[in-house]
């Protein structure tokens, strides 16, 4: 395996800086976010690299549980960022975290205890990357689905109220919005499953191949991950959308947008 030197990464980062300068010149308002994300990326990954090195040497379940909890809480917090009409902070955090917990952790446990089954099952070398990939991807999907749901409900509030006035239940009144939101959240994973191998080599598989794993082994892991992500995302979104939809209506099924942060 060819090792990367810090200079190799400096060369790659010059491309990001070039992009940031270009978008600054074109007034695209994206440079600041881009630079911040890039810096966060470096700091977080380096940190994780060192932490992983420590953890891999100790098969400690409690340490792993702590790390997993931190990962979950951060994902639960981030899930409501960058949304047009985000949920109020605590509601959003609670809903996002519980949807993520149930979907990602269920899939991670299934893969660790039944499918991959390393010894011990919580072996950090398997548990952390698997959980990380599941959390990251389901978070993405759930976040997209929630964004679509909140935005549609806000924009179509008059339609929803009209449907309620005609005697529809709240489930009927937001049925189309709900399925549209679930679909939106599922599009990325369905797309990447559909084009995998034809257009792009998925990231995990690429990494394994680069580090010398035989392609067929890498492919099998990639398929496993795809299926788990798709299932986790789907169930996670359904859960999140169901919980939000419930909170958007009061006990007499009146639309109540109080749980949304609406910038006036």
């Amino acid at each position: 395996m060819i090792h990367l030197t810090p200079w190799d990464l400096v060369i790659a980062s010059s491309m990001i800086i070039l992009l940031a300068i270009t978008s600054l010149l074109l007034q695209l308002n994206i440079s600041k976010q881009l630079i911040i994300a890039a810096i966060r990326n470096v700091v977080q990954l380096l940190l994780v690299g060192y932490i992983l090195k420590l953890i891999f040497n100790s098969n400690n379940l409690y340490l792993l549980a702590t790390i997993a909890t931190i990962m979950l809480l951060v994902a639960g917090f981030e899930i409501n960022s960058r949304q047009k009409y985000p949920l109020k902070r605590w509601v959003g955090f609670r809903i996002g975290t519980s949807a993520l917990f149930i979907s990602s952790f269920a899939m991670a446990l299934l893969s660790l205890m039944v499918i991959v089954a390393p010894t011990p099952w919580y072996s950090p070398q398997y548990a952390i990357p698997l959980l990380g990939m599941l959390l990251g991807n389901t978070m993405n999907g759930i976040s997209l689905g929630m964004d679509k749901l909140n935005q549609s409900v806000y924009q179509q509030r008059l339609v929803i109220e009209q449907r309620l006035m005609l005697g529809q239940s709240y489930q009927e009144a937001i049925h189309e919005i709900r399925s549209e939101s679930i679909r939106t959240g599922m599009i990325p994973i369905i797309n990447s499953m559909a084009i995998a191998g034809l257009v792009s080599l998925p990231g995990m598989m690429t990494g394994q191949i680069l580090s010398g794993t035989p392609p067929i082994e890498a492919v099998k892991y990639q398929i496993l991950i795809f299926f788990l992500i798709a299932a986790g995302t789907g169930f996670g979104i359904m859960l999140a959308v169901w919980m939000i939809a419930k909170r958007l209506f009061d006990d007499r099924q009146r639309l109540n947008l109080d749980i949304l942060q609406i910038k006036r």
Binding site: L158, V159, L164, M165, L166, G167, S169, D250, R252, Q253
Partner: protein, 213 residues
């Protein structure tokens, strides 16, 4: 067949305009006009009657209080026709489960209307279709928010007649928001005038009252 009875209805949690609570009733088979300056909260009052807004106090349809039955059932019985109707599918027909030729014809529509695109409808057409849509639910009380605001004189009269016919045939109470005094004289037996912090109910005329019995 039931009166609509409003008992100590309090909406002060929604707007400071409503410091006083409401007590009035609309006998079955009659219409009460609702009038007052713009922005005073006529539509808010109507929405509350359909249990679309949180409120204190009681709203009875006959001996059923709004909180005694599921909200969907209440809103089917006490149907609100909003000032601006909303449509969510692409075609008119998708918003109707069944077709009632007589009802559509009364407001000047043939069966082809079901194939029309919502985006091509004029505001008047939408208003008439919304009126048909609400009547197809066979409500037991009607709350109308300026139902003829976008209509030409011919259609205005047609709609008034349609409502009057439905009202007397099914003996239901009707609340009708309007700024048009003449219209209120034509369709109502009493008028509730809403003002800042107070309201009053006036009978329209004995002659019409007598005619309703």
């Amino acid at each position: 067949m039931s009166d609509l009875i409003i008992n100590k209805l309090n909406l002060s949690s929604i707007s400071p305009n409503f410091s006083q609570s409401f007590d009035f009733s609309i006998p079955s088979g009659t219409c009460m006009g609702l009038t007052g300056p713009s922005g005073i909260g006529k539509s808010v009052l109507l929405k509350a009657l359909a249990d679309m807004l949180p409120h204190q106090g009681e709203i009875f349809l006959g001996d059923i209080e709004s909180q005694m039955i599921p909200p969907q059932q209440w809103r089917k019985k006490v149907a609100l026709l909003p000032a601006e109707s909303q449509w969510w599918f692409d075609m008119v027909g998708e918003h109707f489960q069944t077709f009632n030729e007589e009802l559509f014809a009364h407001l000047g529509f043939k069966k082809e209307v079901l194939q029309w695109q919502i985006s091509h409808l004029s505001s008047g057409e939408k208003q008439r279709l919304a009126c048909i849509r609400v009547l197809m639910n066979e409500p037991e009380a009607l709350l109308l928010d300026e139902p003829t605001a976008n209509l030409d004189p011919h259609n205005r009269i047609q709609l008034e007649e349609l409502i009057k016919d439905y009202q007397s045939e099914h003996q239901i109470p009707v609340v009708w928001i309007s700024h048009d005094k003449e219209q209120l004289n034509r369709v109502c037996q009493q008028v509730l005038t809403l003002n800042n912090n107070h309201y009053k109910v006036n009978k329209i005329s004995l002659e019409q009252e007598g005619a309703m019995i």
